[in-house]
Amino acid sequence: MRNFTFFHWQRSFEMKRETNNNEIDLLLRRLGRREDAGAPEASIDGEHLDADELSSYALNALPAASRARYTAHLAECSVCRKLVTELSISLGAATVAEQAKTAPVPGGLRKFLASLFSPMGLRYVAPVLGAVLVMVVGFVVLRQQRRAEKSSLVAQLPEHRVNESETARDSGAKADAPNAAANHDETYHNTPGKPTEPKPSGTPGAEATRTGAGAAPPPAAKEPATDTPVVAQRQVQELPVLQPSTTAKPTGGGDAQKKADETAAKKQPETVTVEARNSEVKDQAREPVKTAGRTEKFENADRITIAGAADRKNEPANKNKPTAAAPAAGVASVVSRGDLARRRAEKEREADRDKRAANEEESEETKRLAKDEKVETETRTVAGRRFHKQRGVWVDTAYDSAKDATTVHRNSEQFRGLVADEPAIRTIAEQLDGEILVVWKGRTYRIR
């Protein structure tokens, strides 16, 4: 009740103040009409202001004391007042005094933050920042999920698989480490130029699709078996490299990825086992991938994909080998078959996830490239000034959104006066269409 009373009182006070101002406004208008009808021309010491004083006043180029003196004269002299008014409007005098009085020039970070939160900045920067934030959160969540799945997968791994994987790894691991490193470096320095094409699903080795894999090339001819350990090791290195990361960023990822390689390689020895036995893997790896804009990254992806397919193809052989190697392993073979099926299902699920993540990355990267291309084509240099087109407005690169801009309409008297003084601005207005924000001699003009 008290709040309502206070609000009511406040409202009535504001209405009364508005009424009072309206009354005095009407009285002042009447006074103005009467004074205008019969006021004599006043002057200080019998003289009017000279052209230098008038122009300096209109341009805000006077010290405070002399400006105050001329203000007092202008308040009394309608002739000089009219001249100063015309000059101020035609010269488009910026509110230098106002800006100098109100805000100090902010430093680097504050200026940057101020530009971010200015209306122009908010229009462009806020949505971009929001999208970046969503991407980062999604990436972190996805990565955590994969780690959790990987750790559960490792926990289910049977012991004999671990032993075989160590044997295969020792044969070629050390010799081929530099090659593997070079391969995954190349992977992350590739620049995809085409949108994502759907890869065949259910491929266990499809981690590489996250780096933006495109079309899957057909299987190639077989190669001699002597390269098997090298190729296997390369793929061993590649699989763990690609798995932890969901981005295709080329810089700064080399060392971290190498560490991830080693960690993942240790955690998934069963992968080594499967790939090491595939002599066909190297055959398909040697096949040149003829897709525009793609390089080693997609070759690797395809290699692994095909390796995964070969893996499934050779599964029965793999299954049989442990059985053959262990003559008394009737029970063991039944257990391993069940394990294999489970592992296959898990790998298929993981491959699906990886494929989805790779598709997302590809589309994001495509959007970023398209935006860059769009920005690059919407830049022009006129009269020594460089302009970017943003949302239909040609914006000078020197434009500071923290400063006020003087709006000038083409074909207005103000515009004619401006271009008469500054012909370069006419050139800019003629060569650039639509709205222009140009910074000229320390002042910002918005030409419409």
Binding site: R17, N20, N21, N22, E23, I24, D25, L26, L27, L28, R29, R30, L31, G32, R34, E35, D36, A37, A39, D50, A51, D52, L54, S55, S56, A58, N60, A61, L62, P63, A65, S66, A68, T71, A72, L74, A75, S78, V79, R81, K82, L83, V84, T85, E86, L87, S88, I89, L91, G92, A93, T95, E98, E413, R416, G417, V419, A420, D421, P423
Partner: protein, 308 residues
């Protein structure tokens, strides 16, 4: 010479050297040529209001002068043909644009522009036989373009005054008569429209007169900048944005300032009516409301007449 004058002279000489150094084209001028001009500007805009201006302020004043424009004008004064050629080439468009703004037609604008160049070149001769050039009045504080516009505007006003003094047309006479009649009508409008008694109308007229007089006095008592804003907005009928441009403030600032001024004026008018005219506060409040209501009626009737 007083020590202060010596100090100022030293500051001016050093300032002239800096000015020449930052000019893109100093036009072979020397410190001794520039110093007198700078000294005149310092005297006019600084020392006249405050003879004890700090040296830092004098230095800042000189460093903010338009170096290239000042060198160009002084070179023109000294008869440098190249400088004249540059002046005409750079500022013909400016002068023409200003002349067009100040004139009613193209021919008048062309005549005005030609007159300007004659004035600048000093075709008129003074009483002492020396050419009277307006170039001597450019101090270098504002831009040369702005100064030229001001010169054109002043010459246009002088020309118009001369022409209007020669002939007062019948039309002007009729307008004067109408203006006088309008003033009389204002005074009697209340009686004509609402029909009070003669005593009431006389009393109201005195109230209006007192109110207007108190308002006029209150406006005169405002600070110079506030008074200028009131004159620009109410007397010259400028928009707030234009009035703000003259004062060098943003439109929003001008609006806030005007609101404050209105409140101050109302308060001051009430004080004058109570203290000097013997009114009561209630009478003052009532008078405000009544006069405003009548003014609104007048405005409405004016608008209706114009629409017919």
């Amino acid at each position: 010479m007083k020590p202060e004058n010596q100090q100022i002279e030293q500051l001016v000489n050093h300032g002239a050297g800096r000015l020449l150094a930052r000019a893109a084209d100093s036009r072979s001028l020397g410190v001794e040529t520039l110093a007198p001009r700078i000294m005149a500007a310092v005297q006019k805009y600084l020392l006249r209001d405050d003879p004890a201006t700090p040296t830092a302020e004098v230095t800042k004043f000189i460093d903010e002068m338009q170096a290239d424009d000042l060198c160009l004008i002084i070179a023109c004064e000294r008869g440098d043909e190249n400088a004249w050629h540059d002046l005409v080439e750079r500022f013909t468009a400016t002068v023409r644009s200003a002349a067009r703004s100040a004139s009613s037609n193209e021919d008048a604008a062309e005549d005005l522009a030609q007159s300007i160049w004659a004035e600048l070149y000093g075709l008129r001769v003074r009483d002492d036989g020396r050419p009277a050039s307006k170039l001597a009045y450019y101090s270098g504080r504002g831009s040369l373009a702005g100064w030229l516009r001001a010169v054109v505007a002043q010459l246009a006003v002088d020309t118009f005054r001369k022409q209007s003094k020669l002939v007062q047309t019948e039309e002007d006479a009729d307008l004067d008569r109408l203006a006088r009649d309008a003033q009389l009508t204002d005074a009697h409008s209340f009686a004509a429209t609402s029909g009070p008694t003669p005593e009431q109308s006389l009393s109201n007229r005195f109230a209006q007169t007192d109110l207007q007089a108190a308002l006029s006095k209150s406006v005169q008592q405002l600070a110079a900048e506030d008074r200028l804003l009131v004159k620009l907005y109410y007397f010259d009928n400028l928009r707030l944005r234009e009035a703000g441009a003259v004062l060098g403030v943003h439109e929003a600032t001008a609006s806030r300032r005007l609101t404050r001024i209105q409140a101050d004026l109302r308060k001051r008018v009430s004080e004058i009516l109570v203290d000097e005219r013997g009114w009561t506060h209630a009478e003052a409040e009532r008078s405000f409301a009544e006069v405003a209501q009548h003014l609104e009626t007048d405005l409405e009737s004016l608008v209706r007449e114009e629409s017919f």
